[in-house]
């Protein structure tokens, strides 16, 4: 087994992320982790659904949610998922520069999403005095959406860290799994957001 895992186009395996045992383990481990994350968000969704009408004296969802902003956020995050797919496509073609470029765009879109979310929360708190402490609904809303936002923030830090770290050393069998697992995580966050968009905002606005 060689220490030198750096790639050149001739020796590159079809799936660099799974070419080593460590890579395979990381790939599989992240899938399992996402299984656990699913239960985490399912629990948060369950809590939210149980409390979504428990507004006490505070505002209800339909009074405050503005679908325009949320729609924009959805578009940002969905697009960022797509751009991360492009990045992985370029990873498999061993085109490091293009991969980094698309990941950069992914990060940019993610930051945009997060900025919108911060603005949204700020808006609710100052316009409607709707806070974490207003009612059980408020607690459940900020916790569910906030946990997702926290995941986005963590994902962004992770992405930026590996992008900066590997900017000069290029792609190799050691860091390919790191990129790949990140993209899996990012898709997961995206899927969770689709549920949040439906359950929290659409259902909140309609019913």
């Amino acid at each position: 087994m060689s220490h030198d895992h750096s790639l050149n186009p001739e020796t590159m395996p079809q799936e660099p992320e799974k070419a080593t045992l460590e890579g395979k383990n990381k790939f599989l481990g992240l899938w399992f982790f996402l299984g656990g994350e699913t239960v985490l968000f399912a629990s948060l969704f369950g809590t939210f659904l149980a409390l979504r009408n428990s507004t006490a004296d505070g505002p209800a969802g339909e009074e405050i949610f503005g679908l325009e902003l949320v729609f924009l956020m959805t578009m940002l995050l969905l697009t960022s998922s797509l751009t991360s797919v492009y990045a992985m496509y370029h990873m498999k073609n061993n085109d490091f520069k293009k991969m980094q470029l698309w990941l950069g765009i992914t990060a940019f879109l993610g930051i945009g999403f997060l900025a919108c979310e911060i603005y949204e929360f700020y808006h609710y708190i100052h316009e409607y005095h709707f806070t974490f402490r207003s009612s059980a609904f408020g607690s459940a809303f900020y916790t569910l959406v906030g946990f997702h936002g926290g995941h986005v923030a963590f994902g962004l830090s992770w992405l930026i860290a590996i992008m900066v770290r590997n900017a000069k050393r290029g792609l190799n069998l050691y860091n390919a799994p790191k990129y790949y697992t990140f993209s899996l995580y990012w898709h997961f966050i995206d899927v969770v957001w689709v549920f949040i968009f439906t359950v929290v905002y659409l259902m909140g606005k309609v019913g």
């Binding site: 982790f33 994350e37 809590t47 207003s134 607690s139 860290a161």
Partner: protein, 617 residues
């Protein structure tokens, strides 16, 4: 680190070695030590509880202290004793049983242990800092959200930190079993203990996040003024019960399934027969795990969920009796026609069958919702789950320790002491808990600080306390046995029990790379096959070559320390905002460690072929 450097080290070097180790066998030692320590602590708490209940209206403990004692006894035994002891045994044995050199994520393995340890220490710090949690190990809201002082805060943070560690352990074992089995070790050739480790890990993965969420909600309510359980703001206290039991019921199976695996291996070995109905055993394990997620509300029959929910959960719960029954009969059939050796390991396993059968039967009785209206939260339930947890899990852990002690530590536990401690513990156990079924039905609710005079509960409680003291003596003798063995015990050969599975094919204790050459597996019970049909030892699946091993690291320790510091910060920032510094510092340390881990390349090191050959001489 070369092989030579691993020998003959000073005390400081040994400590440093354990702080930085990523070797699954050493991490197992740590888990066993940590879990053992908390087990003794939890046992001491149990004795205090029983002494308080030795006679009616006793004043040995105050009411508040008593509630702290029961809370900490339950929490400690479940999260800090039983689970880590099992994780320790899994760590030590499972990789050997599948012919692997280490686990998939050695770094995470170490991190998992240190998170558990720091979480446990944090929880127990509460004793010295104004009082332990006092809302029961189930921490039902709003009792837990309104409990004064910081006890429940320690409960929240302590469990959150140690729970994260357990989750990592679970993922690690799953990946290890999927990707790192030796050539020929198909799923349906894995020893039952490996199978139950696998299924248990799945349960950990899907159950713990529910607790994580529950603890977060509790934390937000207590520390940041949210209103999840605050009825005046629309909150709902029953949500906690759902989240807790969606975690809590699978947790029972997280504890008992590995014990089932242990017994399966032990019965086969000491009956000199292969496990009867292996396939049925595997599927029964999976079925139990699956059903385990469908039955959480049987802990909530009296909550007022309505007859439909109660009926559905009652039937689902009863269904679990079927796969469990299959297991019991398969174990009996394994012994039937065999050549049974009875030693300490086997005694614990044999004692398990009638004890656990009683626990399982009372489980079915409890599943009958209307009957449960009487049993619920009475001493009947206390008796039931101690028959399951002690009669199943603790017996399983002790059987496993006697069985695998030679493999883990290279010495055989003293048989005479082993048998003596078994009998005292076994008799004490039945004396303590059998009578409690009746105490419950006679009208004694659980978690009662005192029972009143003239309620017909005196004798039962006295008998129970005497039994508990016997258990205490039995437990103490086991500790003495460990000390005696480590000083004077006989050295163990590689295969002291005429074993059947891969771990007995390598020296006791194994070298740190486990298998010099990865073995080739030709069927279930691979070593037994080689003994009876082959040359008596495993055939190698690869030529002797360099072995790649992971680097040790101090980061897991520091990262856990960071969370520990942040934990204190979270708890005390409620009183004084200055403590937020500790939150940021602690989280900063932990995140910095994560960053270092992510950015630094860890390539590990190689043991060369030459070194391995030299060692063979």
């Amino acid at each position: 680190m070369s092989i030579a450097a691993a020998q003959k080290k000073g005390f400081g070097a040994v400590i440093w070695d354990y702080l930085t180790t990523v070797d699954h066998k050493k991490i197992a030692h740590l888990y066993l030590f940590g879990g053992g320590f908390f087990f003794l602590l939890g046992g001491l708490e149990a004795l205090f509880i029983r002494i308080q209940l030795i006679k009616p209206e006793n004043d040995f403990l105050s009411a508040g202290l008593y509630n702290e004692m029961i809370t900490m006894h339950g929490t400690t035994m479940i999260f800090l004793a039983a689970m880590p002891l099992l994780l320790g045994i899994m760590n030590a044995i499972m990789p050997l049983q599948i012919g692997a050199r280490d686990v998939a994520f050695p770094f995470l393995n170490s991190l998992g242990f240190w998170l558990f340890m720091f979480g446990g220490v944090l929880l127990n710090c509460s004793w010295f800092l104004g009082g332990a949690p006092d809302a029961g190990w189930t921490a039902y809201t709003p009792l837990s959200t309104t409990s004064p002082g910081h006890g429940v805060d320690f409960y929240i943070l302590g469990l959150q930190i140690s729970g994260a560690g357990t989750l990592m352990g679970g993922i690690n074992f799953l990946v290890t079993i999927v990707t790192m089995r030796a050539p020929g070790m198909t799923y349906m050739r894995m020893p039952l203990f490996t199978w139950t480790t696998f299924v248990t890990s799945v349960l950990i993965l899907f159950a713990f996040p529910a607790l994580t969420v529950g603890l977060f909600l509790l934390m937000f309510d207590r520390m940041f003024g949210s209103a999840f359980f605050e009825v005046s703001l629309g909150g709902n206290a029953v949500i906690w019960q759902h989240l807790f039991w969606i975690f809590g019921h699978p947790e029972v199976y997280i504890l008992i399934l590995p014990a089932f695996g242990v017994f399966s291996d032990i019965f086969a070995t000491f009956s000199k027969k292969r496990l009867f109905g292996y396939t049925a055993m595997v599927f029964a394990t999976i079925l139990i795990a699956f059903l385990g997620f469908m039955v959480w509300a049987h802990h909530m029959f009296t909550v007022g969920l309505g007859p439909v929910a109660n009926a559905i959960f009652a039937i689902a719960t009863m269904a679990i009796a079927v796969p469990t029954g299959i297991k019991i009969f398969n174990w009996l059939a394994t012994m039937w026609g065999g050549s049974i050796t009875i030693n300490s390991a086997m005694l614990w396993s044999l004692a398990f069958i009638p004890s656990f059968t009683i626990g399982g039967m009372t489980g079915v009785m409890l599943a009958s919702a209307v009957a449960d209206y009487q049993y619920h939260d009475s001493y009947f339930v206390v008796a039931h789950f101690h028959y399951v947890i002690v009669g199943g899990v603790v017996f399983g852990i002790l059987a496993a320790l006697h069985y695998w002690w030679p493999k883990m530590f290279g010495k055989i536990l003293n048989e005479a002491l082993g048998k003596l401690s078994f009998w005292l513990f076994f008799i004490g156990f039945h004396l303590t808990f059998f009578i409690q079924h009746f105490l419950g039905l006679m009208g004694m609710p659980r978690r009662y600080w005192v029972f009143l005079e003239d309620q017909g509960l005196d004798i039962g409680n006295l008998v129970s306390t005497i039994g508990a003291l016997l258990m205490g003596v039995g437990g103490l003798l086991f500790v003495i046995n460990i000390i005696y063995t480590s000083v004077k015990g006989e050295k163990a050969p590689a295969d002291p029990w005429d074993g059947r599975t891969l771990e007995w094919a390598i020296p006791s204790p194994p070298p740190f790379y486990n298998f010099k050459q990865t073995p080739l597996v030709r069927g279930l019970d691979p070593l037994w096959i080689e003994k009876t049909e082959g040359k008596g030892e495993m055939t190698a699946a690869e030529p002797l070559g360099d072995i790649h091993m992971p680097d040790g690291s101090i980061l897991p320790f520091i990262m856990s320390l960071g969370f520990f510091i942040a934990g204190f910060g979270f708890i005390y920032q409620v009183d004084q905002k200055a403590w937020l510094v500790a939150v940021f510092a602690g989280m900063g340390i932990a995140l910095a460690c994560m960053l270092i881990r992510s950015l630094k390349d860890y390539h590990g090191f190689h043991i060369t072929k030459e070194e391995l050959e030299r060692e063979a001489d």
